[in-house]
């Protein structure tokens, strides 16, 4: 076990090209999917927190359901859409990073929208009368409430990032785990473990944990510095 650990750390600190290529694929795919999730999810969360419309409860139920859909189900659905015989087969996106980004976007958007909605709904309780009194329109209300909650929403973004980068089922199905192309940290860990290359598997795990740890530290630093500044 100690030998395996030593080899794993050696692979990481000797900047093994395979490890870092896989890490780069993981980070780039997850970052773009996260960006998409933020662009779609935060306004959706703000809208659902603020706006009143018929069927809102149903929308929230659907959103919460989407948040809990198993990732492999998303993977299969995207696979069906992108496969040659599927409606989007002509785009040739199956087993590409773009296909993986689409799958991860579908995973991050509901979680970002649902959790941000809850945070914004709480803040809205105190801001509603003031914003209404200032005659702000819905779009501007959404804009300012999002801005006010920005430091709390860092945690939501972190949650979305964790969801994306630690996901294995959907990217395995949609990406195909192709070496030097669509292989991510999680799919590579699954593969290398099944092959018995525990050192490489563990080194990839160390990189994955380090990324998540760094993201958490950055989020914590941002939130605590904001609390110091704004109380």
């Amino acid at each position: 076990m100690w030998d395996t650990l030593y080899q794993a750390f050696s692979l990481v600190f000797n900047l093994d090209p395979e490890v870092w290529s896989i890490a780069f694929t993981s980070i780039s795919v997850s970052a773009i999917a996260l960006l998409n999730g933020v662009i779609l999810g935060l306004p959706l969360g703000a809208f659902l927190a603020i706006a009143n419309f018929p069927g809102k409860k149903w929308c929230l139920t659907i959103l919460n359901t989407c948040m809990n859909v198993p990732t492999v189900i998303i993977g299969v659905l995207i696979y069906l859409l992108l496969s040659r015989s599927g409606p989007l087969g002509d785009l040739g996106l199956l087993f590409t990073k773009t296909g993986m980004i689409i799958a991860q976007t579908l995973l991050t958007t509901p979680i970002i929208a649902a959790v941000s909605r809850q945070i914004i709904a709480d803040a809205w309780q105190s801001h509603r009368d003031t914003f209404t009194s200032l005659h702000l329109r819905l779009f501007h209300q959404m804009k300012w409430i999002l801005w006010d909650c920005r430091f709390s929403l860092v945690i939501v973004i972190l949650l979305g990032f964790s969801r994306a980068i630690s996901e294995v089922g959907a990217v395995m199905i949609v990406g195909g785990n192709i070496a030097h192309h669509t292989r991510t940290l999680t799919t590579a860990i699954a593969l290398e473990t099944s092959k018995g290359d525990l050192a490489l598997s563990l080194s990839l795990g160390i990189v994955l944990l380090s990324i998540v740890l760094l993201a958490n530290i950055a989020a914590h630093f941002l939130k605590s510095s904001a609390e110091r500044k704004y109380g």
Partner: protein
């Protein structure tokens, strides 16, 4: 500004009447004070006038008026004082930086321009909230207990600004528990209890010869 007419306002919370008005005409001349015990329905009345509480059954003549309300405790965005004024530009695109600087000057906020609004003192926060409402140039400004929990200097400052603006034509309705303040600055009194408007009369007349027994008892208890 014409008097305020409220009709068919019936609000309850868990069976308890919050505001019960069949029809009433309220004075809106210079400064009107809304007084009454805790839980009487003062804030609810102010929110109905401001249009913050609405219902299809309500009939009011306030919808077309430019009304701005300052809450008892205004929550601010986590930004500077300037940033909290800046959001008004979304509601009033023609609002200029000069007008905003002028409002900060009027309410003695200039030295706090870059301070986080959330960390201001209670008095400073209230000045900022009123400055923001002032920038909307409302016909009627509604203030919910504008000087509650403020020190005497801050109270007098706010009162002086209200009086100045009232002289320049702006109308005010404010809720207050401070009888001395009400006597100092208001022209009319609306007395409310248990969600019902008991009396609406000129301030002097209200304190010297209240028209209802409930008003008499309330004044006797508090003066």
């Amino acid at each position: 500004m014409a008097n305020i007419v409220l009709e068919n306002i019936h609000l309850t919370e868990q069976g308890r009447p919050i505001l019960q008005i069949d029809k009433v005409t309220l004075p809106c001349d210079r400064i009107t004070a809304v007084i009454g015990p805790n839980g009487a329905g003062k804030t609810t009345l102010l929110k109905v006038i401001a249009g913050l509480i609405t219902d299809p059954a309500f009939a009011t003549n306030t919808a077309s008026k430019n009304i701005s309300m300052v809450l008892h405790q205004t929550p601010f965005i986590k930004m500077s004082v300037w940033g909290n004024l800046l959001l008004l530009k979304d509601a009033i695109p023609s609002l200029s930086d000069d007008q905003m600087n002028d409002a900060m000057n009027v309410f003695s906020l200039t030295h706090l321009k870059n301070q986080p609004a959330t960390l201001l003192s209670a008095g400073e926060k209230q000045r900022l909230a009123i400055a923001r409402a002032y920038l909307m140039h409302p016909e009627l400004m509604i203030l919910d207990e504008p000087t509650a929990s403020l020190d005497p200097n801050s109270t007098l400052f706010i009162e002086s600004k209200i009086t100045e603006l009232a002289h320049s034509g702006m109308r005010f309705i404010l809720a207050s528990h401070d009888f001395a303040q009400v006597k100092r600055i208001s022209d009319h009194i609306i007395f409310i209890k248990n969600g019902q408007i008991i009396e609406a009369s000129p301030t002097k007349a209200f304190f010297e010869s209240p028209s209802s027994e409930v008003s008499q008892e309330f004044i006797a208890l508090h003066v």
